[in-house]
């Protein structure tokens, strides 16, 4: 939209996070590691919404927590505004936290049940020693409440007095309180009833427009991601398998996994559902503790070729149509057209 979107605000390079497996009583120490995130690189441009999408265990939430440094990366770099924050100490990170905020998935567990809404939204100011004047701070918090569509009169209520959607608004208000540059939203609507989801999605878009936010939007729901994001990275077992602009990704996915994902999404249109030739993948997502060799998708891939896909790991490269994908045998337009409801080819 603007020139801003050419400047990367966050540059992630070769980010890796391995979790040691804690095992039982006798085989302690023998345990391996979970390859939660395994060499992920991408940029987040100023003012854009980048989507991270994938199924459970793909590492999208871990990636979010690495970027916000709620987790320490095993290796790799995260440049935020030109500065590598991957190895900063907690003390060094504190000032940065003002610029980077998170919205959490579960509106029930993300708000402390023992605190009032006012004190929850005041928290960022108190932690960062801003707005020490109580009256001023209260006014600011009430403005924030108004901004996210909450009644400021409910300042002294506690989270349990609100519905799921309203609670999520409280979480949003807390996240934007310090006017951050980036907001990382981790599955912000997946715990909400469908009729409420749109309220929060619309709110996020509105705030992005008004505040010039950069958003990293994490979700498993491909329809939601499509609606919200400018660019999308599809993750599978700790790696990015495809990265493209939203239109390109949904219009002509190149990675067979992306294609299968799109093909699997149930569409509320019985006619379309009947006519489409669905690609149903076999099996489940393999365990990230023991990911398949070479191309991690080869065990489920309808196009996998023995001797290539299970031997040679494909690298991310530009494919036809501008998508960046890591695949030896990317989808052709004809295959896309048959299976993907969003196909534009």
């Amino acid at each position: 939209m603007t020139a801003d979107r050419q400047t990367p605000l966050i540059e992630v390079r070769d980010l890796v996070k391995h979790f040691p497996i804690r095992s039982g009583f006798l085989d302690r120490g023998k345990g391996g590691v979970v390859h939660a995130v395994d060499g992920v690189s991408f940029d987040v441009m100023q003012g854009e919404t980048l989507g991270l999408v994938g199924e459970s265990g793909c590492g999208k939430s871990t990636t979010a927590r690495l970027i916000t440094r709620l987790l320490d990366p095993t290796s790799g770099s995260i440049r935020f505004d030109g500065r590598d924050i991957a190895q900063l100490s907690r003390k060094e990170l504190k000032p940065l936290r003002r610029d980077m905020q998170m919205i959490f998935q579960d509106p029930y567990s993300s708000l402390n049940p023992r605190k009032t809404v006012g004190s929850i939204i005041s928290e960022p100011f108190l932690i960062h020693g801003m707005e020490k004047d109580d009256a001023k701070r209260r006014k600011l918090v009430e403005e924030l409440m108004d901004q996210v569509g909450l009644n400021p009169e409910h300042y002294n209520r506690r989270p349990h007095e609100f519905s799921g959607g309203q609670r999520q608004r409280i979480g949003v208000a807390r996240a934007i309180a310090l006017k951050p540059k980036v907001v990382v939203a981790d599955e912000p609507v997946s715990a909400l009833d469908v009729s409420i989801q749109a309220q929060i999605l619309n709110l996020l878009r509105e705030l992005q427009r008004d505040l010039g936010l950069t958003i990293i939007f994490i979700a498993h729901d491909l329809s939601v991601v499509r609606h919200m994001c400018d660019r999308i990275a599809v993750m599978y077992l700790g790696k990015i398998v495809e990265l493209a602009d939203a239109d390109a990704l949904y219009g002509h996915p190149r990675h067979p996994y992306t294609g299968a994902l799109l093909s699997s999404v149930p569409v509320p249109d019985p006619v379309l559902a009947r006519e489409r030739k669905q690609t149903v993948l076999g099996g489940d997502v393999p365990s990230p503790a023991n990911p398949p060799k070479a191309c991690r998708f080869h065990t489920r891939c309808p196009k996998a070729v023995d001797g290539t896909c299970d031997v040679d790991e494909p690298q991310l490269e530009v494919k036809e149509g501008g998508n960046i994908a890591a695949c030896h045998f990317p989808l052709a337009d004809a295959e896309v057209a048959a299976a993907v409801p969003t196909s534009e080819v």
Partner: protein
């Protein structure tokens, strides 16, 4: 496990050798012991050595010879005393465990299934009462009411009638009846409550709904699917309780005058016989640790998700 015992032995050693303001040597020498006698006893017992040397000797004795030293009171080896007293304690424990489990299971299950019914309320009220009564008082009341010496209703054998099972099975059994019941009362109550709460929770689980949806009879649902999962917390507690009781049911053994390990410890305390006290404490800790290990194994047997 060995480490745990070592730590416990060190702590008990500290408590019984370093803490007391009374001097063991003096105790041993008796009230009229001359300073020379005390000094020689001290030397003989190694009490004039630094504490770590004393501890080292003590541990070495245990590890190499299973030797807990000698009683200050009787000069008998502590180990022998404990071994002599063990059968009585085992008799008391095993009988009580069987009794309380046979009581607790039906009561706990019925209470959980008929939650808030009259039966449940009565059972749980009684259980709470039983938990609230100290075992020694219950024992005294039971003796006062039912023992065939001083009792108002002469039904059971009284205190101090214990004989080893090898001597006379019938007398052994009848002498232990009252202690078993008294000891089992509060445990049965506790287990019934524990089973009730555990089973109540389990009955809310999704797999219970599945079992019902399969069309199984309510009996199968509760006994096979519910109780099986609900016994898990009981396993832990049972292991610990057996361990503790084997280490000496001090109060019960005192009240009923059963010559078990608890009684031994009690007498040793009365006589400030530290070597014996320490021996029994270590022995008790040993049982608790073994019980814990067995619990861990039992867990893996009950719950296939647990692996070792």
């Amino acid at each position: 496990m060995g480490v745990l015992l070592l730590i416990i032995s060190a702590i008990t050693f500290l408590i019984f050798y370093a803490l007391p303001s009374t001097d063991p040597a003096q105790l041993r020498a008796g009230r009229s012991g001359s300073p020379e006698l005390i000094a020689s006893i001290r030397h003989n017992l190694g009490l004039d050595k630094p504490i770590y040397v004393q501890y080292y000797r003590y541990v070495k004795g245990i590890v190499l010879h299973f030797d807990f030293g000698f009683s200050y009171q009787t000069d008998a080896p502590v180990r022998q005393q404990i071994v002599d007293r063990l059968p009585a304690t085992i008799s008391l424990t095993v009988g009580a465990v069987i009794l309380w489990l046979t009581l607790a299971f039906p009561v706990g299950i019925v209470s959980a299934v008929k939650r808030r019914s009259l039966v449940d309320r009565a059972a749980m009220g009684g259980a709470l009462l039983a938990i609230s009564a100290p075992v020694y008082w219950l024992g005294l009341v039971a003796l006062y009411l039912f023992s065939n010496d001083i009792g108002q209703f002469k039904i059971f054998d009284g205190a101090g009638t214990y004989v080893p099972i090898s001597q006379n099975v019938g007398t052994w059994f009848s002498s232990l009846l009252l202690p078993w019941m008294v000891l089992a009362a509060s445990f049965a109550a506790f287990y019934a409550r524990l089973l009730r709460s555990s089973l109540t929770e389990v009955l809310h689980e999704d797999y219970i709904r599945t079992a019902r949806a399969k069309g199984l009879s309510e009996r199968t649902v509760i006994l096979r699917h519910g109780v099986r999962a609900a016994i898990l917390p009981l396993v832990t507690v049972l292991g610990l309780d057996i361990g503790i009781l084997l280490g000496g049911a001090i109060l019960t053994e005192s009240v009923f005058n059963i010559p078990g390990i608890g009684r031994l410890a009690y007498d040793a305390i009365k006589a400030s016989d530290y070597a014996t006290i320490q021996g029994t404490v270590l022995f008790g800790a040993f049982f608790i640790i073994v019980a814990n290990l067995i619990v861990d194994i039992a867990y893996a047997v009950v719950d296939p998700r647990v692996r070792y």
